[in-house]
């Protein structure tokens, strides 16, 4: 009997709220099927199952917030008998809020979680207030000594509209901001970043896109970010030290090249969903993925694997008009590549000053894992791929 658990959808996630079940006992599921929607700081996430079988039993009621790793459903594998024992009680919102442990054993450490969820720093009074009001300290912003959550924070939180017991799908930008704050603060606290910058000539890539797009309908046209994503993905095949995670055991190379792409959200906020196996997708497939991702990110409907699987991030602020962007690594990743705005500039090529379309390309990487020398080679490799756009 397999277990479907609350997934970790980011290094900073400690708990999630089940919004709804999309599968029910008796339903057959295949690996990758979406079985539930979970509300997190990043919005409502469609969560996939990782094993095939039949949903045997649901262990958590919609509206319940449970820590990462908590079993939420049992999945009967092929040939397995249904459990005869009396069904365990559903974990309800009430039971989860109660201090006593539920009937279920302590959640096992979940594999994708980068670190054990930490106890939020909170004063004794804040803890008592939160318990009396049934509020969760996790994710609350503290204003006390050392950023501790204090009783006034709980009172403010209780005074603001209470979270609906059954959260609706969508984006909570304040929550997202807190998630970004936690991840970025951790990054700057823990990761010794080093930064490299180089100028890449995009003239050929641009010409290639013009040629291809000339015969296409606007909806089918390829955009420059697709070439950049693919170039980064291909470069990573040769430079695996930029693709993966830094954990307590050191660097763990990614099992595939899943490039996360930074997508800004109107009203503030940011998500970096992964495009799985970016290096193996055609440019058209990549473009379709990117359009789909942008659309879903902006309404807050991403899948769990998209949020947790990215092995590197690419950020491009070029359309905001900046010439270079030095990124902050999204932990536990080890690198982020930034593309600036492409601009036409005088450039010396083959002994002559010519007009070229140039972009400043940057790399911020984790010095615990790689050195500047390798970083330079990585940027050069990205450059090389962008000079041969037809091979991307």
């Amino acid at each position: 009997m397999g277990t479907f658990s609350m997934p970790s959808l980011g290094a900073d996630m400690e708990a999630g709220t089940l919004v709804e079940w999309l599968k029910h006992p008796g339903d057959r599921v295949e690996r990758g099927d979406i079985v539930a929607v979970v509300e997190t700081q990043k919005g409502a996430i469609e969560v996939e199952v990782f094993e095939a079988g039949v949903i045997d039993r649901l262990l958590v009621e919609p509206g319940t917030t449970v820590p990462v790793g908590t079993p939420m459903a049992l999945v009967r594998g092929p040939g397995e008998e249904a459990i005869e024992a009396p069904a365990p009680e559903l974990v309800s919102a009430e039971a989860a809020a109660a201090p006593a442990p539920s009937v279920h054993p302590a959640p096992p450490p979940s594999a994708p979680a980068a670190e054990a969820p930490g106890r939020p720093r909170a004063s004794p009074a804040a803890r008592r207030f939160a318990r009396e009001r049934g509020l969760d300290l996790v994710g609350m912003t503290g204003t006390g000594p050392g950023g501790a959550v204090v009783s006034a924070d709980i009172e403010r939180s209780a005074a603001s509209p209470a979270p609906a017991p059954h959260p609706t799908r969508g984006l909570d930008l304040a929550e997202m901001r807190r998630a970004i704050a936690a991840a970025m603060a951790r990054s700057k606290r823990e990761i010794p970043h080093y930064y490299l910058s180089t100028t890449i000539d995009l003239t050929r890539a641009h010409a290639y896109l013009e040629r291809i797009n000339a015969e296409r309908q606007p909806a089918d046209r390829l955009l420059l970010p697709v070439l950049q994503l693919k170039a980064v993905a291909l470069a990573l095949r040769r430079m695996p030290e930029f693709n993966g995670f830094h954990t307590a055991d050191g660097f763990q190379p990614g099992t595939g090249i899943h490039v996360g792409t930074a997508i800004a959200i109107r009203g503030g906020g940011l998500a970096t969903p992964a495009i799985h196996d970016t290096d193996r997708l055609s440019l058209d497939a990549l473009m379709a993925h990117l359009r789909d991702l942008v659309a879903r990110t902006r309404v807050g409907r991403l899948r769990s694997s998209e949020l947790s699987d990215a092995t590197i991030t690419v950020t491009s602020l070029g359309d905001r008009g900046v010439e270079s962007v030095f990124g902050v690594i999204y932990p536990p990743q080890v690198a982020i590549v930034g593309f600036g705005k492409p601009v036409e500039r005088p450039w010396v090529a083959e002994g002559r000053v010519v007009i070229r379309l140039l972009t400043t390309t940057t790399l911020a990487a984790d010095h615990r894992v790689s050195d500047g020398h390798k970083g330079g080679l990585f940027l050069a490799e990205i450059d090389r791929h962008l000079q041969e756009p037809e091979k991307l």
Partner: protein, 341 residues
């Protein structure tokens, strides 16, 4: 009761209040006791002809004579012991010790006799002695005349220990202490003798077991006694300018501690800073902090903070002496820290 602060205006007699000094208030209290009760007498080093080391008893020898205002030899053990004996014999002695450092010579009499006889006699004999002790630093009297060892006495069951911090308490605590059937030690901080304040002319005895809130506030509780009360009230003024409403508790009684007043205040403000001129290690501040932890833990929003004297013998040079003592700036900083500011 009227709340007195050390910073009262110099206004002479206004209505039924008078302006006086802490020294005069003590003098008037002793004189009143001598007049009221023939069993009361004062003894100590230089209390008679010299008028007292801090001039508290000036003029009393002329008024009451050498039987009731007694100069003693320089032997704390002897004259404190004599005071205990007189108390056992039915008198109501007031014994003055020049400084808490010298009181250590009388520790045996105070701890082994005054504090124990009621217990060891099965309640047959009580010891209604009042011992006045000057304590504290600030007058450049160096490391043998400047310490704050109130907590040594507050540690001992069988004693009551009080610390009047205002002119009013200086005036009205003595009679309550004399009426107490057990030994009471009154600590007078040396920097308070010259402080002026206003006094209700018709004030009555004060309940020496109760702390008092000298300034109400909602954001943080500042707990002080004796010589640190004025500095703490100054700190509260500064904090108010920053929008922080500090509540200031004057402990008054160091044994027993008025835990109810402390806990009620801290439960309201959720934060506490204890200001104590004693050394931090093993201090009264440590005891109060432990009480708060034991009984108000779930009301706290910040760790309890202490502002104490630096752990050095009190230095002689003024700048070092001042640097060693709790000062308003440190109190302000500690209070702000409990608010995360």
């Amino acid at each position: 009761m009227t709340v007195q602060t050390a910073a009262a205006p110099k206004s002479g007699v206004v209505g039924n209040v008078v302006q006086t000094t802490y020294r005069e208030a003590l003098h008037d209290a002793i004189r009143e006791a001598l007049l009221k009760d023939q069993r009361v007498f004062l003894m100590g080093e230089d209390v008679g002809r010299y008028g007292g080391c801090y001039a508290v008893s000036r003029g009393l020898l002329d008024e009451f004579g050498p039987d009731r205002i007694r100069d003693t030899p320089l032997s704390e053990s002897a004259f404190v012991g004599a005071g205990i004996g007189a108390a056992l014999g039915g008198m109501r002695p007031i014994v003055e010790i020049m400084t808490v450092n010298f009181s250590l010579l009388a520790l045996d009499q105070i701890v082994n006799n005054a504090a124990t006889i009621r217990h060891m006699s099965g309640g047959q004999f009580n010891v209604p002695v009042v011992i006045r002790i000057a304590s504290g630093a600030g007058r450049q009297l160096a490391a043998q005349h400047s310490h704050s060892l109130e907590n040594w006495y507050a540690h001992v069951p069988g004693l009551k220990v009080v610390a009047p911090a205002t002119v009013e308490d200086a005036r009205y605590m003595l009679w309550t202490a004399l009426e107490d059937p057990d030994p009471v030690i009154i600590f007078e901080h040396v920097m308070l003798y010259n402080v002026t304040g206003i006094l209700s002319a018709d004030g009555g005895p004060v309940d020496i077991g109760k702390a008092v809130i000298r300034r109400p506030g909602r954001d943080v509780t500042l707990i002080a006694y004796g010589g640190t009360l004025g500095k703490t009230l100054d700190a509260a003024e500064t904090l108010e300018a920053d929008g922080i409403a500090a509540e200031v508790i004057d402990l008054r009684s160091l044994r027993p501690l008025d835990t109810g007043t402390i806990l009620r205040s801290v439960s309201r403000t959720r934060r506490a800073v204890i200001v104590d001129e004693g050394w931090r290690t093993g201090s009264l501040a440590a005891e109060i902090s432990a009480i708060i932890m034991e009984d108000a833990f779930w009301d706290l929003d910040a760790p309890v903070s202490r502002v104490c004297t630096a752990e050095v013998p009190i230095p002689y040079p003024r700048h070092l002496e001042q640097a060693a003592l709790p000062q308003p700036a440190a109190i302000v900083a500690a209070a702000r820290a409990t608010l995360g500011r």
